[in-house]
Subunit: 210 residues, 2 copies
DNA sequence: GTCTATAGAAGGATAGAC
DNA sequence: GTCTATCCTTCTATAGAC
């Protein structure tokens, strides 16, 4: 794959957008290998020639899809972080945890994670690009937040990176693990909230300032 | 895919084993879609006709590979659990954590996890079969162990399932997450040991009997 | 930019000889 | 069981007209 990080998105012709929409839906649902350019063209309502007029190759099209998905993930993460303010650490963490977990367990998020993990072997740089633009950035913001809370004496996270990893690891826990494997019915809101509460509970026992 | 859970392995002709070896290596390295039956036959040193004499289809061959990989995972997990005994909870947990994490981060383990996650969309039953035979069984054994330790007063894990998920979630943390995405160099022994120590540290602050 | 039609290659699976 | 040779489908990508 050439130029994964250098994908233009300034062109917004209707046909191009239709291709992006169809390809995005198909790729994240069925994976890279199982989706043909014929099917994408048909679903988008354009001819293959038009498709290739906008995207030089299947690789490039895939790169564009994943890059845009990353940016959406960043936007979501930023929203999450910005929405959290308040003095009750437990309430803030629980709210944040619930929102993050809901995002991680959303069918679209899971599908994107699956397809990225799937194609790491084929496109080695894909994993890093995805991580830096998505989960890594969220983690960075969370780490900074933990550090600020520690600085003002509301938490005792001497190693904010480690604390962030442990919090997020516990949060993902079994729900995310099983969801990634497509096991069982989707998690209910109660399960998600309960997992967030339990995570915060354990986390605060280790990192509470008091 | 038909009969994922019902794969015979009683035939051990040399050619058949050569096919299994080559296909296993190729599938976990490059994924299902990127490996052709031609390449498998060539790598195994047999003709395609011979390949199809032993495996009815590419699907069936893939199912056999993954099923056998699951059984290896179960064997590894059982070994891990059996090896742990002792009275110093912290030492036992740290040893166990380090071994589990080393197993999870092994290139072959990561490759299998990647290919299973990748093909969940194509083979819906694959995720459940893999989980039940691999990670789920390990988790069950760990849960039972936590429960016993709680019963004899060495731990205070009122909800052993939850405690197991939190322990394993923290243990995977960022190392497994990044490794699955193929980011950066493989984790060093020091990083693994350090992650295990940190996980046990946080875990025991929440679930210590004292 | 957009289409129809097709080239050229590769894939899964099989026929028939031994 | 094993091989060589091949069929048929599907795939990516492009040529050429409008």
């Amino acid at each position: 794959m050439s130029g994964l990080a250098d994908v233009r998105t300034d062109n917004d012709s209707p046909k191009r957008l239709a291709v992006l929409e169809a390809a995005g839906r198909l790729f994240v649902t069925h994976g890279y290998g199982a989706v043909s350019m014929d099917v994408i063209a048909r679903e988008a309502g354009v001819s293959k020639a038009t498709l290739y007029a906008h995207f030089a190759s299947k690789d490039r099209l895939f790169a564009t899809i994943i890059t845009e998905a990353c940016h959406q993930g960043v936007a979501a993460a930023t929203q999450l972080a910005a929405a959290e303010a308040g003095t009750d650490i437990r309430a803030v963490l629980t709210g944040l945890g619930g929102r993050v977990l809901r995002f991680l367990l959303a069918p679209r998020t899971l599908a994107i994670h699956r397809v990225v993990i799937a194609e790491v072997a084929r496109f080695p740089e894909l994993g890093a690009v995805f991580y830096e633009n998505g989960p890594g950035r969220s983690r960075g913001q969370f780490t900074a937040w933990l550090q600020r809370q520690t600085a003002i004496g509301r938490l005792a996270a001497a190693d904010p990176d480690l604390a962030a990893d442990q919090f997020l690891g516990m949060l993902r826990g079994n729900l995310y693990h099983r969801a990634l494997l497509g096991i069982g019915p989707p998690a209910t809101q109660d399960e998600i909230d309960s997992a967030a509460v339990a995570t915060v509970d354990t986390f605060l026992r280790a990192y509470s300032a008091a």
